[in-house]
Amino acid sequence: MNTVDEILDYAIEQEQQAADFYAELALRAEKAGMKQVLLDFADEEMSHKKRLLAVKNGKHELTPEEEVLDLKISDYLVEVDATDDISYQDALIIAMKRERAAYELYTDMAANIPDSHLKEVITGLAKEEAKHKLFFESEYDDRVLMDN
């Protein structure tokens, strides 16, 4: 990936894959109400994809300089499996960890790219992922850690 378009295409593809992942999991989900939650997650990923498409088309700008709050909730949670009987809590853990992995990937990429323009774009993508992580971590804080 040597151009901005290539990097953005990669990021857009990742968001699509995430949306497909949640949609597929929704089909399998057995617990009451989980289908809708997972479909909502898929919609959230599609909104991320839409945002990146807007960036690619010059209608939206990334904000690499923006400071994003890191609640560090997912950093200390165990890995969970995307089973058919997945719970709300585990669905959120999967979502948080996926966003965290994407954030770390882009952060590492940015650190190893000498081209300053590309570095800025990739850092912007990392910040986008940090915002997505914050979204899911806030959900987890509000819905799972109610008494904690």
Binding site: E30, K31, A32, G33, K35, Q36, V37, L69, D70, L71, K72, D75, Y76, L77, V78, V80, S87, Y88, Q89, D90, I93, S138, D141, R143, V144, L145, M146, D147, N148
Partner: protein
Amino acid sequence: MSLKDLLSPFFVWQRAFEKPWTNMRPIEERPGAPAYRGFHINLADSCIGCGSCHTICQNEAIDMVPVEEFSGRPGDSGLRPRFDYGRCCWCALCVDICTANSLHMSNEYTWLARDPTDYHFTAGVEEKPWQDSELGYHRAEGYHLYPPKRIDMDMLTADESVQSFDEVVNGYSEEQAKLEADRCVECGICVATCPAHMDVPDYIRSIRDGDFETGLQLMYRTNPFPATCGRICTHRCEEVCPVGITGQPIAIRWLKRFIVDQVDSIDYARILDSEIIENGHKVAVIGAGPGGLSAAYYLRKKGYSVTVYESQETGGGMLRYGVPSYRLPDDALDKDIDYIISVGVDIRYNTIIGKDVMFEDLLGEYDAIFLSTGLSVPSSMRINGEDHPRVLSGLQVLADVARGKDPGIGRKVAVIGGGNVAMDAARVSRRLGADVDILYRRRISEMPADPEEIKESQEEKCNLVEKAIPVEIMDTGSKKQVTIKWGEAEMVQDPKGGRPRPVLQEDRMHTETYDCIISAIGQGSNLDFITPAVQEQLAIEWGKFTPGEYQRSELEKIFVGGDVANRTADAISAIEDGHHAARGIDRFLKPGAYAEN
């Protein structure tokens, strides 16, 4: 008649051309004395429309009228006093009784108007020149027509209470209860705030009258768990009690308990008129917690044949297995449940839906179903090492203690969480002889537990560690101990608003070894007993139902309530859900009876 008398009317006319002998207005405006009882001033924003001024006014010069801008404010009737100055005698009793201390009098006393109806006005709402007057009659500081302080409740000291599971609160004597009841101004703001809309002023009056049987009847109209709620209700009524604005709120919960404690359960059937006329319909209730049994009771009173399915060996749900006996003794809970059973509610214990009885069979067999299965599944921390055998669930510890089993917690315990389950698990641990640390991610002021639970746990020497985030559980090599690693948190403002969020400070980690760790970070529902085909037709969000009118689900036969269907997750809300659903089921099964509505 003399000639002078005959002519005198004509001479009167000469007076018409003389200078008047009277003044149109006083030559000098004489201000009223500084504490003069002049026209009323009401600080309408501080007023909560309790109507005490209206009640005390001997001349019936005050009406309470609705004012749009105050409608719907919590703890506010939305009414404001409207004065009739044709009736007012300026005695200032209304000022003296004002619970919010919002009503005063100015020292203004002249007001000219041609239309007599102008002298009716809503103080503080209609603009008047004296509204901002600082002079005039104000109630003297510290002066109250009723005692501002509540009658102290006799309780075990913290040192005494941790020695046993005996009830901490001893209850009022009759003399104390009557004195406390005397403080009530009967405004009824509490009625609107109570989820079950209990008739608080009237049952408090029954204490003053010494007529406890009437008090019991009034309570059972909307709540078949008065002995329970008289002990552990979240008492939102007291939070809005206007007497609490300038003093301490009426001890409504303790007065409720007092009434129940005065009546022997043997007399319940006679007092509460248990005659039931069967209507031929059958309803199933799933879950014998407060929501399920409340629905069962009111349905039975309406003549339904009610069968309650309960997975545990006895009824009460979280009241039985989640609230320790020092707050709610079994005999108080049993007093409520035994009466519900006595009216003909059939409870099938140890029966698991989906295993012993199929949900789809219930759908076919009964005319309606009420689901109130609560939140029985403890949330997991999902941190490394959590499956360590010395990590226990708060719900399990409380259930073990309720069943008389030793939960085996050891002598040094960490409780994780800040809700009522965490507080109860901590206080139970103290009673079992353990030293207790409570680790909570946020600040004490943000704990979701009842404030009095937090206060009492601290008094019982539970060590509350705020802003502590568990990150890992570690094995010590001993089967009897476990180590927890936790980090300090900083509270950071959420950029999107809302409450501040705790952020782990990775450079400030701590480790501590305990005999056990009790996890009490929250609970979720288990709805696996509902067949998938039915689940898909029900609106379920994050494990909770979202009921419509009269607690009805998307399926016309199924009604839902209690913790699994409301956000407050307290007993009184579950009780009201059950009562509400009973009315809804009655409307559903007997539509003809409500046709005129």
